[in-house]
């Protein structure tokens, strides 16, 4: 099996005049939990639809398991378990009918896993999908996505609109999936604390472009937050080289720097300030600084 499960190069997508994705390149290695982060409408769902073969690459290429998902739906989709934001499960089916129906498509379906997950999620097999609550519907979808032991789990905003209990279930399953050898997870979310817990690599999508794409460790270690105390009160945000964002007022200001903290230290000294505190910023702060 190759080392790169998803290989996207130079992907551009236009919807009419609007560019939903612009020159996006992304590689998801095997065994990785890849988090796609961005605000609503940034292009995460569009990207995921390309991975599932629901959208064709207008410019650039998309390869999943080294195949084009739009050309070879059987080869690609049979190894993917997906949970979409719309929860497109048929309302009229019962849960046990749904499981039997999905089972027919995947030779690698494992009944024991399905049973165990249903038991753990407390799903009533006799109930119609249409009468399930939102959280239960998400859980049912998760069972159908996981029971065939997919090599790639694709989740589009899995936690949207769900209570913390269901969210924990979903995250737990993500962790369990990747703990198995060779299985990969791609999920998009705008809940950054979830992403911080489980992701190995993170990419920030903003207005159709990838702004940051790196391992989570690298992102967190290369960004530092400095609190600077100036001799004179500053009435407008001081422009310091190497700083991505700054907040504060009067004499104390906080800056977020990426990588070149040496440059920042020198510039701070030039402006007549002293660094009084240095800490690691949260993922949320890092991303907000890149976006604004």
């Amino acid at each position: 099996m190759s080392e790169t499960v998803i290989d996207i190069r130079g992907l551009t997508r236009q919807f009419g005049k609007k560019a939903a994705l612009h020159d996006v390149s992304l590689q998801v290695p095997r065994g990785c939990v890849f988090g796609l982060v961005g605000e609503n409408g940034a292009g995460k769902t569009t990207l995921i639809k390309h991975v599932l073969g629901l959208l064709r690459a207008q410019v650039g290429s998309v390869r999943v398991f080294e195949r084009d998902p739009a050309e070879d739906p059987v080869g690609v989709l049979s190894r993917i378990g997906c949970l979409s934001e719309d929860r497109d499960l048929p309302d009229w089916m019962r849960v046990d009918e749904l499981l039997q129906y999905m089972r027919a498509f995947y030779p690698s379906w494992d009944d024991r896993i399905a049973d165990e997950l249903c038991r753990r999620f407390e799903l009533d097999l006799r109930q119609r999908v249409g009468t399930l609550s939102r959280g239960q519907r998400a859980r049912a979808g998760l069972v159908t996505a996981l029971a065939h032991r997919p090599d790639l789990l694709v989740l589009d905003e899995p936690s949207s609109g769900l209570d913390p209990v269901v969210r924990r279930d979903i995250l737990g399953e993500i962790v369990r999936t990747v703990a198995d050898e060779g299985r990969t997870v791609l999920f998009s979310s705008h809940l950054l604390d979830e992403v911080e817990r489980v992701a190995d690599r993170v990419a920030l999508v903003h207005k159709g472009r990838i702004v940051v794409s790196d391992s989570l460790e690298q992102i967190k270690s290369s960004h530092r937050r400095f609190t600077v105390r100036f001799a004179q009160p500053q009435y407008s945000p001081p422009q310091l080289q190497g700083a991505l964002a700054c907040t504060g007022e009067g004499q104390e200001w906080t800056f977020l720097a990426n990588g070149g903290s040496e440059l920042l230290r020198r510039t701070v000294a030039d402006h007549g300030g002293t660094i009084v505190d240095e800490s690691a910023p949260t993922l949320e702060e890092i991303f907000v600084s890149h976006v604004k």
């Binding site: 962790v175 817990r197 949260t282």
Partner: protein, 134 residues
């Protein structure tokens, strides 16, 4: 083994695990030779990426706090490692610093403070001394 992970701490998750395990060992809540949950189990329990757990375990092993037995799992290393004792001293020092700062604020001098400590120590029921003498 009860661990608490906070994402917004500013401290990386693996570091939090390392610190907490060291604390638990030092506080005798993890006995030498006791088994720790596997990487997979702990990842599921804390809902954290298994790689993060693996990294934490690697660091703990390098520090000598835990030891991996091939095929058998992860265990707390035997016989009070010097670092476990070092951890104990570190914790106590933290407490002492706080106490000293408070005493200074209240304008209580060092001798009075030591006297108070003796008094409170006599009130404690006689227990076997915890941990080896250092």
């Amino acid at each position: 083994m009860q661990l608490r992970i906070s994402v917004n701490d500013g401290v990386p998750i693996y570091q939090q695990i390392v610190n907490q395990v060291k604390y638990l060992v030092a506080a005798q809540r993890l006995e030498p030779g006791e088994a720790l949950p596997s990487v997979r189990k702990l990842a599921e329990q804390l809902v954290v990426n298994p790689n993060t757990i693996a990294r934490a375990y690697r660091e703990l092993e390098t520090a000598g706090v835990i030891v991996t037995r091939r095929g058998a799992g992860v265990y707390v290393s035997e016989g009070g490692s010097p670092l476990a004792r070092g951890e104990q001293t570190r914790i106590l020092n933290e407490r002492i610093d706080v106490l000293l700062a408070e005493a200074r604020q209240m304008n209580v001098d060092l001798d009075t403070l030591i006297e108070l400590i003796h008094k409170r120590s006599r009130r404690l029921p006689a227990t076997s001394s915890t941990g080896e003498s250092s």
